[in-house]
């Protein structure tokens, strides 16, 4: 009864910050449609992001969390998942949600303070955006349990931020995924900040991926601004989950180039030089350079894409801004399948209040 257990965590990167290859490309990259889809979705995500911020600044949208600089992670999740898989997102997963069929207008509605933005009826059984940090992770484990019990070959992909890894639920979910052999992929969007708290104040662990060791599951770090590495890792983890019913923790290293949300001012706590340095590593330019180098992209395509995306976004904005208000009774109507009779008088009272609903707008 003596000895020593060994563990290790590796870091995966294919493209360096200039879009140059560090490693030979994995086989799946011969699918150029996929490569272009990654790029196009990142561009769409960024334009959507800019628009959401503009809407917020002009009073047409609520507090909004930008994903500037972290597009690769969520885009690759969206593209690597099968339609019948289940996404359990956090609040910086708009790109994946769009790929999974959720309309941009719904996303605007959610952040615009309209519950119908959480209906996501095109997303059949994906969970909605989750605000209370880390609480989505044990739910995701529950989804995975359900898929397993039902004998499906679907898997769950769930995400969280670096700050979320400090909250107990994170570890509870990871631990369960290990001991119950769940078909689930956990992706940490490590953007190095949790509002004003930098990663160094969140944990002393050298990597967040090593938290997997505590649960006895596989953990890996990837360069989260390198779409090849991100897609590769997620794709493999999804395959492991599907075939071997084994969980994986992926730490995707990225950086929050924006403020935490539109309600935040990062210049209060964050060094301008640090921000500047990280602009050199952001995924969209990097991937554009790579595609150029591979002869898969040119300026004309870029221009067309930008125009197309802008149009998609503008159409969504129109839809968002012109949608009819929900009736006042909606605040009660979805509480239960069967309204308790005790709530009927309140519902009746609301019908009269229809007009004053506008007070808050």
């Amino acid at each position: 009864m003596r000895g020593r257990q060994q563990f290790s965590i590796r870091l995966l990167q294919y493209l360096d910050p200039q879009g140059k290859l560090d490693l030979p490309l994995p086989e799946w990259t011969s699918n150029t449609i996929l490569l272009l889809a990654i790029y196009e979705n990142m561009v769409l995500a960024r334009l959507l992001d800019q628009k959401a911020i503009a809407l917020q600044r002009t009073g047409q949208m609520g507090t909004y969390p930008s994903i500037l600089g972290q597009e690769a992670i969520s885009v690759c999740i969206g593209l690597a998942m099968a339609k019948h898989d289940v996404l359990v997102p956090y609040y910086r997963d708009t790109p994946a949600q769009i790929i999974r069929g959720i309309s941009l207008a719904e996303i605007f509605m959610y952040w615009g303070g309209d519950e119908r933005g959480g209906n996501l009826n095109t997303a059949s059984r994906d969970l909605p955006t989750c605000v209370p940090i880390a609480t989505q992770l044990t739910q995701a484990a529950g989804v995975a349990v359900a898929l397993k019990i039902k004998g499906e070959d679907s898997v769950v992909v769930t995400t969280c931020g670096d700050g979320a890894t400090s909250k107990g639920d994170f570890m509870e979910a990871l631990n369960l995924a290990g001991v119950w052999d769940l078909p689930i992929v956990f992706v940490i969007n490590n953007n190095r900040w949790a509002i004003s708290v930098p990663l160094e104040q969140q944990t002393r662990a050298a990597t967040l991926a090593q938290k997997a060791i505590a649960a006895g599951i596989e953990g890996i770090q990837v360069d989260g601004n390198d779409p090849i590495a991100v897609y590769d890792a997620i794709h493999q983890a999804i395959e492991r989950a599907r075939k071997d019913k084994q969980p994986t923790l992926i730490e995707a290293l990225s950086y929050r180039l924006s403020d935490h949300t539109t309600a935040d001012d990062a210049s209060r706590y964050r060094d301008a030089d640090e921000l500047k340095a990280h602009w050199q590593e952001e995924p969209i330019l990097r991937f554009q350079q790579f595609l150029h180098q591979q002869g898969l992209w040119n300026a004309g395509q870029e221009k067309a894409l930008q125009q197309q995306c802008l149009q998609v976004v503008d159409t969504a904005v129109d839809e968002y801004l012109s949608v009819d208000a929900e009736p006042a009774t909606a605040i009660i109507d979805y509480l239960h399948a069967f309204l308790p009779y005790t709530l009927e008088p309140q519902r009746v009272g609301l019908q009269g209040k229809e007009a004053s609903a506008l007070r808050g707008d």
């Binding site: 289940v86 359990v88 519950e115 119908r116 959480g118 209906n119 996501l120 009826n121 059984r125 969970l127 909605p128 209370p132 609480t135 992770l137 044990t138 739910q139 995701a140 484990a141 529950g142 989804v143 995975a144 349990v145 359900a146 898929l147 019990i149 039902k150 107990g168 639920d169 509870e172 979910a173 631990n175 369960l176 001991v179 909606a330 979805y334 509480l335 239960h336 399948a337 069967f338 308790p340 009779y341 005790t342 709530l343």
Partner: protein
């Protein structure tokens, strides 16, 4: 005058909630104490509905520390009866996730005193999933928890904090007070398409045997049960204290005082119509619960009386509750818990008024 309801104390069924037309056939009567009735209901529903899944600490191999989940693993396999790692937040989060995908998790929190780590999931997610997704996803889960004092257990094993849950929109909170009602209400809770917290008065888990017909008939939720009819005063309670209340009602009945005894049963939402109708008749009301008096559910009931029945009231509404202090350890728990004498004294004060 006091009159008993029918033997198995089934109330008039709420027209809003027609009795479940289960396909199970009558299988004769089973003698059960309350915790066995819960076990019977779980067996029944797991057999009837393959989406029902049990999870919690020690629920599978051990059958639960109170044996509420006895033999379920043997009967339905370890895929549907799951011993979880030790984490209440996890149990609740798993249940939410499972419920959104078409399963009906019936989770056990070993004692209500350990529910706090589960509240974030229950309050922020279970209670809101239907509303948040405008009906796309739902959370048809049940969280069972033994609660209340009187079994001489260690710290944290004897609290009654149902008022915390009852204040949360989107949750139903149900408390049986007999084996029969435990069976029927638990079936209803599992079949309800929304989250239900099912609080089990462990002090009376084995107090009284009843004959139960395992026919899968649910009792209605959102409905008070009038256990005794009477014209002189209304006594409102729930859970284990119904035993003391029944004693008091019997004692007073012998003295010619007719107490109408109402078991609230679903403490959220509360079927106030039944209570208001009773008070309209009796003009007097006492409410009894184990939880600390201040901020307890008794306050909500009394407040609604003050709002909707002021002119009916011939005397102040008295509440008999626990003291506004931490639940004492075993040696002093009997001192803390409202006794039959306390309830009787309150009734007598109210009757003597004016």
């Amino acid at each position: 005058m006091t009159s008993n309801l029918s033997a198995n104390d089934t109330p008039k069924v709420d027209p809003l909630k027609p009795a479940d037309s289960s396909t199970a056939t009558r299988e004769g009567m089973t003698k059960c104490v309350l915790v066995e009735a819960i076990n019977l209901a779980l067996h029944h529903e797991m057999a009837r509905d393959p989406t029902v899944v049990i999870l919690g600490e020690d629920v599978a191999t051990n059958g639960g520390v109170f044996r509420a989940t006895l033999d379920l693993k043997q009967a339905f396999g370890s895929e549907r009866v799951l011993d979880t790692p030790l984490a209440e937040g996890l149990i609740a989060g798993l249940s939410v996730g499972m419920a959104t995908q078409g399963l009906k998790p019936v989770a056990e929190i070993q004692f209500m005193g350990f529910m706090f780590a589960a509240l974030e999931q229950i309050i922020c997610h279970a209670a809101r999933m239907r509303n948040r997704t405008r009906g796309r996803l739902t959370c048809p889960l049940v969280v069972r928890m033994p609660f209340g004092g009187g079994i001489h257990a260690p710290e944290h094993h004897s609290e009654s904090t149902e008022a915390l849950l009852a204040h949360i929109p989107g949750l139903r909170v149900v408390i049986p007070s007999s084996a029969t009602r435990a069976y029927g209400l638990l079936l209803a809770a599992i079949r309800d398409p929304d989250p239900v917290i099912f609080l089990e008065p462990k002090r009376i888990y084995r107090a009284q045997t009843q004959h139960i017909c395992d026919d899968g008939q649910a009792l209605p939720l959102d409905t008070c049960f009038t256990l005794r009819e009477g014209e002189d005063i209304t006594l409102v309670s729930w859970g284990a204290l119904i035993s003391e209340c029944t004693q008091v009602v019997d004692q007073l009945s012998a003295q010619g005082i007719a107490v109408e005894l109402i078991d609230v049963a679903t403490v959220s939402p509360i079927d106030m119509n039944t209570i208001l109708q009773s008070v309209a008749k009796t003009g007097r009301c006492v409410i009894a619960h184990e939880a600390p008096k201040t901020g307890g559910i008794g306050g909500e009931i009394a407040a609604q009386l003050a709002e909707y029945a002021l002119l009916d009231l011939e005397a102040p509404v008295l509440r008999v509750g626990g003291y506004d202090t931490v639940m004492p350890y075993a040696k002093k728990e009997a001192l803390y818990l409202p006794s039959a004498a306390d309830i009787k004294a309150a009734i007598e004060r109210v009757l003597a008024f004016g």
